[in-house]
């Protein structure tokens, strides 16, 4: 056939001789040694290590040094002073209040996250994407505004202020206001972990369980919850870290009464402004340890259960 003829007419290329010819044609081009060779879809080793070096230097200055300086400053005055600072009655009261607020705020947002994810992921309804946007809203609001809105509602000059004070209920400059402000700033954490994952998983498992006669509650408990348990834990972890560390929103509604409405981050501020630097850093070091613990657990969850968490994660 004609085509075969064309193929036969072409000289059979020998890769080695072709390479030799091209080298002979271009005397400036030297054969590259194995160590400097790089695939056309990667960078030269020099560029690669330069990029790694710049990235690591940036992270060392902006992330590692702030973390290290907390512990160095905390222990500067000696271990005795460090222990005194964190066992001071006001510091202990601040630790207790921080724990109390997060013990209320995290479960509240956990229940909300589960309810929101169930309704959004298992059903199709109008206005769903608008609802998801509203759930993410608190992340775009300044923490100071999160505190301010509750002062405007419940403060002495607020809309409900006179009624509340008439009934002897104190929300602003008291613990309830601090809990509300914390719930506001940590509002989306659990929901935003669960919603995309449960949407990905679909409603097939639940429909099967229901058709086999399981009750709605049993389906949730035995089918849905095990499917999302790692993402749930992940959300709770982040929610808790923010709840314990929140400063701006809580600061606005707290009133800064030492030993009464003083959380750990607020106590750090008070000590710092009194020039008790070592004590401030000592309390701060507990919060830094908490942050490290959170990061450790979070990484453990990501490494062990990558397939059970949602794949694309944007904070």
């Amino acid at each position: 056939m004609e085509r075969e003829g064309i193929v036969r007419a072409l000289p059979i290329a020998d890769p080695a001789s072709a390479a030799d010819r091209s080298l002979a044609a271009d005397p400036a081009r030297k054969p590259r040694s194995r160590s400097t060779w790089h695939a056309p879809t990667t960078e030269r080793p020099f560029a690669k290590w330069l990029l790694i070096g710049v990235a690591l230097a940036f992270l060392a200055v902006f992330l590692v040094m702030p973390l290290v300086v907390v512990f160095v400053e905390a222990l500067r005055a000696g271990l005795g002073d460090y222990l005194d600072a964190i066992t001071d009655p006001d510091a202990l009261a601040a630790i207790r209040l921080t724990l109390l607020i997060s013990v209320i705020a995290v479960p509240a947002n956990l229940v909300f996250g589960l309810a929101a994810a169930w309704s959004i992921a298992k059903f199709e309804f109008k206005g769903k994407s608008f609802l998801i946007t509203l759930i993410d809203l608190p992340f775009s609001v300044s923490p100071v505004i999160a505190g301010l809105v509750f002062v405007l509602l419940f403060g002495a000059q607020g809309s409900l202020g006179p009624w509340l004070s008439g009934h002897g209920i104190k929300i602003i400059f008291a613990v309830p206001g601090m809990v509300l402000a914390t719930i506001f700033v940590t509002f989306p954490f659990v929901a935003r972990e669960l919603i995309p994952l449960m949407q990905e998983q679909g409603a097939g498992d639940e429909e099967a369980a229901i058709s086999l006669g399981a009750s709605g509650f049993k389906t949730f408990w035995l089918v849905t919850l095990p499917n999302v348990r790692w993402a749930l834990l992940y959300g709770v972890l982040l929610c808790n870290a923010r709840a314990m560390g929140e400063f701006g929103a809580v600061s606005v509604v707290s009133g800064h009464i030492r030993g009464v409405t003083d959380t750990m981050p607020l106590h750090v501020e008070i000590l710092y402004n009194e020039y008790s630097y070592s004590a401030a850093f000592a309390v701060a070091s507990i919060l830094a340890l908490l942050a490290l613990l959170t990061l450790g657990l979070k990484s453990l969850l990501e490494w062990r259960n990558a397939e059970h968490l949602r794949s694309t994660r944007g904070h």
Partner: protein, 283 residues
């Protein structure tokens, strides 16, 4: 079938619990978020147009808003460059300690802002670990707007890394091979093939970092110096107005900031909608 002419809100489903869970979601959302934010907007509206404009355009308010916006813009831009670089290094290269570095990126999300604030201040004062190198140059970092940029860079650092990272990881390497086969150099491949595909994720991360940085308070108040007209950020001005019991003043600044937040949120959603249409995934 039910013969009502009402549009059907929900598709039929055998799964129970739609009404109670959606009801609870909307109720909780209203009590915690919508009603309080609504109260702020009502309060701002109740000020009257003239008063609101007077408070919003007071020179101190404008100076604080301008400072917040500009420092946030600089910090987000720094993080756009370095965040992209860090995401690239984490996804494309293997080096000792990569997993630890990957875990540490989220430190600004986990470390309370007050702790970050005092730590950064101690680093950048003239006799601090880093500040000592700037002092001989006559450059003050702590207690100046530069210090604000440093704090905002810290708190908004993870956003760009975490939005670009998954997109970069899922990027099809065959496209790069095709570019290389067609004769593109590595630099051309990176800038003309890879970067355009990363752009929506990069913009989303940039907008998220910017939104976070504009509203940031805790880490900034320690390092800023807080001098009116010079290093006083908008969230701090809200706190100062509240401490003066000037609720109208606080509300006016807050309403302006809320408007900026909503605009940012809208921008982010538009970028993501565009990205889903163009690349088939949300950035």
């Amino acid at each position: 079938m039910v013969g009502f002419a009402l549009p059907r809100l929900k598709q039929p489903s055998v799964i129970p619990g739609f009404a109670p869970t959606l009801g609870f979601t909307v109720l909780y959302l209203s009590i915690i978020v919508l009603i309080p934010l609504g109260a702020l907007i009502l309060k701002a509206a109740g000020l009257g147009f003239g008063d609101f404009i007077a408070l919003a355009t007071a020179s101190r308010t404008l100076a604080a808003l301008q400072l917040s916006f500009l420092t946030a813009l600089v910090a987000a831009s720094i993080n756009a460059v370095f965040g992209l670089l860090i995401a690239w290094v984490l996804v494309r290269y293997d080096f000792p300690g990569r997993r630890v570095i990957d875990a540490v990126i989220d430190l600004p999300f986990a470390l309370p802002t007050a702790v970050a604030g005092i730590a950064l201040t101690s680093l950048y004062t003239p006799n601090g670990w880093i500040g000592q190198f700037f002092a001989p140059l006559g450059l003050k970092v702590a207690y100046t707007p530069i210090g604000i940029v440093v704090a905002l860079t810290f708190v908004s650092l993870p956003f760009v890394v975490r939005t670009v990272e998954p997109v970069l990881r899922d990027l099809d390497r065959e496209v790069e091979e095709a570019a290389a086969t067609l004769g593109a150099g590595r630099f051309a491949t990176v800038t003309r093939v890879i970067l355009p595909a990363l752009l929506p994720a990069l913009l989303t991360g940039y907008a998220l970092a910017l939104a976070r940085a504009i509203g940031e308070y805790g880490s900034v108040v320690f390092i800023a110096g807080n001098i009116p007209y010079v290093s006083e950020i908008a969230p701090l001005l809200i706190v100062i107005r509240l401490e003066e019991f000037n609720y109208a003043g606080a509300t006016a600044v807050a309403a302006l900031m809320l408007a900026i937040s909503f605009a940012m949120l809208l921008t982010i959603n538009l970028i993501q909608a565009y990205s889903r249409r163009r690349y088939g995934h949300g950035a």
